[in-house]
């Protein structure tokens, strides 16, 4: 079937669906393992595979660190004179960083041949969504306070809020369809839907660029990273890398 082919092939987006199954299969091997090499894995290979899987909880904990730091600073009243602005800026920064990290996975795989990086992509993406939601919640509940009626006019009238809010809205379907079950159900539509992430990333960077009054150096860094991540996806780079990947991958698997 198409999706199984996808998963088995070394192409970029596909193996995401296979990750969890591969890990689940490491216990009782009830699911057909997508990668033949995994199925044939000996003890040493399983150890290696488990080490990658073991990194996932670590990454999970790492992704929670910014939230923990915020909580710590709230508890210790260490957020400076304008704590609300601090909370907004820091949650927003991390949302954007994680979003760009999510987008960096594919080029990273192509450049390094480290295919297993794909296994971290969903978690990064979901954490990006998580931090955007925290960011929006802080704005809504903590910052706007009793002035909620202001929200609708803000969304409509402030370009930076319009794009930021749109980015959050667009992330919702991506988060909802991030499960293996949804990937299977959507089949090839899944990839098409998840291409929205490129638009979301553009909106997120615009959100930052447009809210800054005059000193655009910091948002420009994020814009620069985004541009690089886009350039690495140009057919010229992507094709060449995919080719080297295609030749490198089997060798790696033997």
């Amino acid at each position: 079937m198409n999706r199984i082919d996808n998963i088995a092939s070394p192409r970029i987006h596909a193996p995401a669906g296979g990750q969890r199954r591969a890990r689940a299969g490491s216990g009782a091997n009830t699911h057909p393992s997508p990668a033949p090499s995994l199925r044939a894995a000996g003890r040493g290979r399983r150890l290696f595979r488990d080490r990658v899987a073991a990194f996932k909880p670590l990454l999970f904990a790492l992704c929670l660190l910014p939230l923990a730091a915020l909580a710590w600073d709230i508890w210790h009243e260490a957020l400076g004179p304008d704590p609300v602005a601090q909370l907004e800026h820091r949650s927003g920064d991390w949302a954007l960083r994680l979003l760009l990290a999510t987008l960096a996975i594919t080029p990273l795989r192509r450049l390094t041949g480290w295919n297993k990086a794909i296994r971290f992509r969903r978690m990064l993406g979901l954490f990006a969504f998580f931090y955007v939601t925290v960011h929006l919640t802080i704005y809504l509940v903590v910052d706007l306070g009793g002035f909620w009626s202001q929200l609708l006019t803000e969304i409509a009238k402030r370009p930076y809020i319009t794009v930021g809010f749109t980015a959050w809205l667009l992330l919702i379907p991506l988060a909802l369809t991030s499960t293996n079950a949804m990937m299977r159900r959507l089949g090839r539509h899944w990839q098409r839907l998840h291409k929205l992430v490129y638009l979301i990333a553009v909106l997120a960077v615009l959100h930052f660029l447009w809210l800054v009054k005059a000193d655009h150096r910091e948002p420009a860094i994020y814009l620069g990273v985004l541009i690089v991540l886009f350039l690495l996806r140009l057919p010229k780079f992507a094709a060449k890398r995919a080719r080297t990947l295609a030749t490198a991958a089997p060798a790696q698997n033997t």
Partner: protein, 328 residues
């Protein structure tokens, strides 16, 4: 009993220029005599003294008069008012001015007076301040970024100072310039704005009794990061009108070019009066986040913004007949 310097000034030393005549009438109409009374006849030390926990650096200032316009709203702590502000000459972060202004030399200082006035030239800060009694003014400070503070400034009414230079009838505006010292102001190395920083007021705004040149805050001399040794405070305008470290005051006939207005004419008008009805493209100006009080609070900081930052009664008449959407 102390007599208000302002009363003396109005009674005896004003050049009888039509513009001042008009201003005097306006003030009388406005009942600003009452305001003068409130400020004039009390001689007590600063109520803007720090709370017990706060230690304030800098020389303690002797204050002759006091005016509290805060209406009982709680004051911003000294620490917050001096560690969270915009002063791009020291960097664009809110903490940059406090962090990077240590190498700035606010003494010795002189100010050049230029333009349409009978008396012009360069004057030392001591000469500038000598004839004036320091007053404390507790004002709301509203940033265009929709946050605000309540700050006890110490300074002199700008109008009282300007009159000493006998501006002529051609003096329709007053232009201010900030010092330009790249060696002491690290933010100047990046052209985030067109340096040096410039601001301006219409002459009647400059002469308004609420407009002051501050030399101190919280009963002490200004720290570098808040504009030492001399800065403007115009409480009914957005904070960026309050130009810091002033080295030049010029009387002009045409409206002076101002830094933020040049950086974004659609966003920052020349007048920049606090107006909840006219939004900044990036921010609603209907509400503001108040940074005040000694405690830490995440909730309930947002309050409604008042026209002219709550000083409409005193200043709205300066703009009678003007379309404030056009002249924002």
């Amino acid at each position: 009993m102390h007599r208000s310097f302002r009363h003396n000034a109005i009674a005896s030393t004003i050049t009888p220029e039509p513009v001042y005549q008009r201003r005097r009438e306006v003030l009388q109409l406005l009942g600003l005599g009452a305001l003068g009374l409130a400020t004039g006849c009390r001689s007590e030390t600063s109520s803007g003294m720090p709370t017990a926990t706060e230690e304030i650096p800098g020389k303690n200032l002797t204050i002759a008069h006091r005016l509290d316009t805060s209406g009982g709203e709680s004051r911003t702590s000294y620490k917050d008012a001096t560690h969270y502000n915009n002063y791009y000459e020291f960097g664009t972060g809110k903490g940059d001015p406090a962090a990077h202004s240590g190498g700035f030399h606010a003494q010795p200082w002189s100010v050049e007076i230029a333009g349409h006035a009978e008396v012009t030239g360069r004057f030392t800060l001591e000469d500038i301040l000598k004839p004036h009694a320091l007053e404390e003014r507790i004002y709301r400070m509203r940033c265009v970024e929709a946050w605000s503070m309540v700050i006890p400034w110490v300074g002199i009414p700008l109008g009282d100072l300007l009159k000493r230079f006998k501006p002529t009838a051609q003096a329709k505006y007053v232009a201010f310039t900030t010092v330009n010292r790249p060696a002491e102001m690290p933010g100047l190395s990046y052209p985030v704005l067109d340096w040096p920083y410039r601001e301006g007021l219409r002459i009647d705004e400059a002469m308004h009794p609420l407009t002051i040149l501050a030399t101190g805050m919280y009963g002490h001399e200004l720290p570098n990061q808040n504009g030492a040794p001399l800065r403007l405070v115009v409480p009914w305008k957005y904070g960026y009108k309050g130009i810091k470290a002033i080295v030049k005051i010029e009387f002009t006939e045409s409206q002076p070019k101002t830094t933020w207005n040049q950086a974004g004419p659609e966003e920052y008008g020349f007048y920049s009066n606090v107006n909840p009805e006219v939004d900044h493209p990036r921010w609603s100006q209907k509400t503001e986040r108040r940074i005040a009080g000694d405690g830490f609070s995440l909730l309930g900081n947002r309050i409604a913004t008042k026209p002219f930052n709550g000083y409409a009664e005193q200043v709205a008449s300066l703009y009678t007949g003007m379309d404030l959407r056009k002249y924002f």
